[in-house]
Amino acid sequence: MLLITCPYCCTARPESEFRYSGEAHIARPLEPATVSDDDWAAFLYMRTNPKGLHAERWRHIHGCGRFFNTLRNTVTDQILKTYPAGTPRPDLGAPAEGGR
């Protein structure tokens, strides 16, 4: 079970307090009616699904209830950083594949 530090509550809590909400930094187009089918499919369905650093949304449903973002290495499942929703992705560089 992951230990996740909620950036609002500022404590490390077990994964079961949180809900995973998919890849972060995917903005819904402001005017969907003007978006092409390809761009709409890209927004709705296409995902980076990286082997390595993944920016992802979590929601502290059994705590403060707020969304935030997490940078996690999908090879080791180690969480490197959590940060509030709406702030840009921190630049940690690319992790060595498979390494911590």
């Binding site: 809900r19 995973y20 996690r72 090879v75 499942d77």
Partner: protein, 416 residues
């Protein structure tokens, strides 16, 4: 060498010291007509059908590890085809028929055992949905029947049908032709048969790049064992599909999750069929070695770790201890994760890609093993002809742009 009673007797007299290798291990050639990336059951089966039905003999299967070391050896070996959607019935039902003749076809015993797959209903909603599936399947000529709790217990004596359970068994849908097969044997059998037809099976060759020419078409792959040229490349890499397709600049509608499974200590035969339950989340069958083979759920987050959190397996054991109180004192020996690639509509993607010469067969999610023969058959036809096989056509990558999704939440029977 063909396996037969005669060859067995001859090898027995020789002390079993002269069994040949089951497939050749050649050095990779500089170029092939087609390359399959991924040496699991789907990829090896694709190569077998390309060689057998489509006359492509100058082909290679590239596997980054060893055959059967990925999801081919990590699944819970269940075979069934009771899906309610017409498109999915069309892909899975031929697979069940192919399973019945696969050992003869490959001259390799894949230990197909149609012992029956029983899916338990625990709520009024389950009963309604499963009965609808039973009727939809029977209309399509697919075997599926409804059982009362008592009939379910007759079919599977260790099942607890006490009404005092938190989620009592209210009935079950039984597919008698469903069952299990030895998953490694499926990979090995296809490898052996493909190798005999001239297919080069190259293990320990991880693809590190996909090369494209000036027009954008595929011209080969770079691997840890050198550059291999090919005008046709088929990616059949399950959880690593996004990584490979990214090498060709194609973003995929996939997310990779660890799907967990575990096995118990071996015991005498106690469980005569496969039992599945969506609602309390349990899959269990007994292997020929006597171990209970238990399928647990996926972790909630994407990962390539091949492990996952222990609480996911513990949750499934809770359910199994309720359904089979006699299993409570058994010890679990091993648990592991396989990385499964999940699409937004829980249906696979089989077909062409925006890159000429690049084909993909992926998105089988948590239920790929049972579809292995059918998937391999239609994907081989798709690669050979350069256009989707009619059964595969609805499962194109374009469906995510056109909106013609195939909403198959029942595909894996787990509560997605």
């Amino acid at each position: 060498m063909r396996f037969s009673l005669f060859s067995l007797a001859r090898q027995a007299l020789g002390g079993h010291a002269r069994w040949p290798a089951q497939w050749r291990s050649p050095e990779p050639k500089a170029a092939y007509d087609a390359v399959i990336v991924g040496g699991g059951g789907h990829g090896l089966g694709t190569a077998y059908h390309l060689a057998k039905e489509h006359g492509l003999r100058n082909i290679a299967v590239l596997e980054k590890g060893w055959l059967g070391g990925g999801n081919a050896g990590r699944n819970s070996t269940i075979i069934r085809s009771h899906h309610p959607r017409g498109e999915t019935e069309a892909t899975h039902q031929p697979s069940v028929k192919l399973w019945e003749t696969l050992s003869d076809e490959l001259n390799y015993n894949v230990m197909y055992s149609p012992r029956g797959v029983m899916m338990l209903a625990h709520t009024v909603h389950d009963i309604q949905v499963f009965k609808r599936h039973v009727h939809a399947n029977r209309l399509a000529g697919i075997d599926n029947e409804w059982l009362t709790p008592e009939a379910a217990k007759d079919f599977c004596p260790p099942l607890n049908i006490s009404p005092k359970l938190r989620y009592p068994v209210l009935g079950a849908a039984l597919q008698r032709r469903g069952g299990t097969a030895r998953h490694d044997a499926v990979a090995w059998g296809y490898a052996r048969a493909a190798s005999a037809l001239g297919v080069d099976i190259i293990e320990n060759a991880e693809v590190t790049a996909i090369r494209r020419d000036a027009s954008g078409a595929v011209e080969g792959v770079e691997t840890t064992r050198g550059v291999i040229k090919a005008k046709k490349v088929g990616v059949v890499a399950a959880g690593h599909t996004s990584v490979l397709m990214g090498m060709a600049g194609v973003r995929m509608p996939l997310e990779s999750y660890p799907l967990q499974a575990l096995v118990s200590e071996p015991v005498k035969p106690v469980l005569p069929c496969v039992v599945m339950s969506n609602t309390v989340h349990a899959y269990v069958s007994q292997s020929d070695k006597g171990e209970l083979v238990i399928g647990a759920g996926t972790d909630v987050y994407t990962s390539y770790s091949q492990t996952g959190g222990l609480h996911v397996s513990a949750h499934t054991l809770d359910a199994i201890c309720d359904l089979f109180p006699t299993f409570r004192r058994m010890r679990m020996m091993r648990n592991w994760g396989g990385i499964v690639d999940v699409t937004p509509d829980r249906s696979p993607i089989i077909g062409l890609t925006p890159v000429p010469g690049l084909y993909v067969n992926c998105g089988w999610g948590t239920g790929g093993f049972k579809a292995t023969p059918g998937s391999a058959f239609v994907f081989a036809a798709t690669m050979a002809r350069g256009e989707p096989h009619p059964v595969a056509a609805p499962f194109s990558l374009e469906r995510f742009t056109t909106g013609r999704l195939i909403d198959e939440a029942a595909a894996a029977a787990v509560a997605h």
